[in-house]
């Protein structure tokens, strides 16, 4: 067979392995998340199906497959079906350039190179991942638009605005790493870290935090899961979906989490490497797995710990805090690289900026805190100054004595 044919065979086998692995990881991620969240809340979690609940994902999948899959009468049929398919397609495709190990060293022929542990070694690797994962917004917007439902449409619009807002910060915070690495290729970025003897989290602490926050917002996870805010939008764009079509959206969300964790591990934690220990056969997969699992645990931890933030806060945070900080990070890193300074200069600058921002936030939090330690609400901060008009349910005039709000919130009586 020709080299090209061997390349096709290798790519087919690796793609199937990647897809099956991602789907399995998704299934068990749902179980792990439920178990870990339960532990956070001092519950046990699902432990009945199989030993330790290990068959729970199978039970869930079967249940989902045999649910009634209905489509609202007013839905656009084609787009309604396209949306979940597009979501999961984008999620699976974005993983193509993530390196799970080094290029093969046991031969230089094209056949040997084709079996390296990643689907493709394209030279624009990180750009490809960013581009493909930002396509995820299409699935969500189409789902919300085609459902023919107010909640879905609002959830989809919110999601779109949120994703594009944080997308900018992602692109800019990656720039710092690229300046140090001097390449877009994912494998070469890891090689650059080995060559310079550091993980880029040390040289780019600010970039790491910015990328992390923006990535959580990008995959719509808590505390940025506004699009599916159960309390105000029912389930956002998911409202009208049921059964396997709903599962496809969940699948896309979890696979996006895994991809994001992999990118974080590759860019900032040296990917599959750990000192000199990645030379052992099979070890790269273990280091890579540990790093990704660490980030996935942080995703769950954040969901268990932080309350969902309000929409106006979310947008303000993305544009007014994350974006200027990532520009600042890019400029500082550029100065360090341009003047050929040591990597720890960049690290110290990053830590200094983090410290300053934290102090500012702490001081502002103290100033805005409504109730001080004595329990007295200060008169100067009325509810009007804290909540914008779009979030308030009732208008409260601080100068008037409080009246019972029950009549104010009651909707006008309508006859059907």
């Amino acid at each position: 067979m020709s080299d090209f044919a061997w390349g096709v065979v290798a790519a087919l086998v690796k793609s199937i392995i990647i897809i099956v692995a991602l789907l399995t990881a998704f299934a068990y991620m749902t179980l792990i998340e439920r178990r870990v969240l339960a532990r956070f809340q001092r519950r046990v979690g699902p432990n009945r199906a199989g030993p330790l609940g290990l068959l729970q994902p199978v039970a869930d999948a079967l249940k989902m497959a045999f649910k009634e899959q209905f489509m609202p009468g007013r839905a656009f049929r084609f787009t309604f079906l396209l949306a979940p398919a597009l979501s999961v397609f984008v999620a699976l495709t974005a993983f193509a350039v993530i390196p799970l190990g080094d290029r093969t060293t046991w031969g230089t022929s094209p056949i040997a190179r084709a079996w390296a542990p990643f689907v493709s070694d394209i030279n624009v690797g990180i750009l490809y991942t960013l581009a493909i994962s930002s396509l995820a917004v299409y699935g969500i917007v189409l789902a919300g638009w085609s459902s023919g439902n107010h909640y879905s449409l609002l959830g989809a619009l919110r999601s779109a605005a949120q994703m594009v807002s944080y997308e900018v910060s992602i692109g800019l915070s990656v720039a710092g790493v690229l300046m140090f690495a001097g390449t877009l290729n994912m494998v070469d970025i890891v090689h650059a870290q080995v060559h310079q003897g550091i993980w880029y989290i040390l040289a780019q602490p600010l970039g790491f935090i910015l990328y992390g926050i923006a990535a959580i917002a990008e995959v719509n996870r808590a505390p940025f899961d506004l699009p599916e805010a159960e309390q105000e939008l029912v389930a956002g764009y998911l409202t009208e979906f049921s059964g396997l079509r709903w599962s496809l959206f969940q699948m896309a969300e979890y696979i996006n989490m895994i991809t994001t964790s992999s990118v974080l591990a590759t860019l900032f934690l040296g990917g599959w490497t750990l000192g000199a220990l990645h030379g052992i056969l099979g070890a790269p997969f273990i280091w890579y797995g540990i790093k990704v699992a660490f980030f996935l645990f942080i995703f769950i931890w954040l969901r268990a710990t932080l309350p969902r933030i309000r929409y106006d806060q979310l947008m303000r945070f993305g544009w007014q805090v994350l974006l200027p900080l990532s520009v600042l990070n890019a400029l500082c890193t550029a100065a360090v690289v341009a003047f050929d300074l040591q990597w720890w200069v960049s690290g110290l600058i990053g830590l200094f900026i983090i410290l300053v921002v934290s102090i500012i936030y702490y001081l502002r939090l103290r100033a805005h805190r409504q109730v001080d330690k004595s329990g007295i609400v200060p008169k100067s901060t009325g509810l009007d100054q804290v909540l914008p008009a779009s979030v308030r349910l009732v208008n409260i005039d601080p100068s008037q004595p409080p009246t019972s709000p029950t009549h104010a919130t009651e909707p006008a009586a309508t006859t059907p």
């Binding site: 398919a85 070694d121 974006l323 003047f339």
Partner: protein, 117 residues
């Protein structure tokens, strides 16, 4: 472009998987549509206004701002890769480029483009 061939194959398989699942949803599961079930979910109350009506223009403004600043980020990436070779010249270019975009950034900030009320 031999490097992109595996990506296309993965795309093809992912597409096939997605289409397969969507087709399966037509076969499995009961089908008992009723008018109530087919009505859009509205928290149990009668629908007042048709959906897909006009939505706040704010979202559109955000989208336009995104295009401006994301193009900035995209044009920054080639500069970032070559920063080691360009040295101080690259830094000057970056500062000029950033300054051109920081001025409109503060302009739209003052105009209230980032405030959601």
């Amino acid at each position: 472009m031999p490097d992109f061939m595996p990506v296309l194959i993965l795309m093809g398989l992912a597409f096939a998987f997605a289409v397969l699942v969507i087709l399966v949803t037509f076969i499995l599961g009961p089908k008992h549509p009723t008018p109530e079930k087919l009505a859009p979910y509205e928290s149990g109350i009668q629908e007042v206004e048709a959906p897909r009506s006009r939505f706040p223009v704010k979202y559109l403004t955000t989208g336009m701002l995104f295009i401006i600043f994301d193009v900035e980020a995209a044009s920054l990436i080639p500069l970032a890769i070559l920063m080691r070779q360009l040295k101080v010249m690259g830094l000057i270019e970056l500062v000029v480029f950033a300054a051109i975009l920081i001025v409109p950034f503060f302009y739209v900030w003052r105009k209230g483009a980032f405030a959601w009320e």
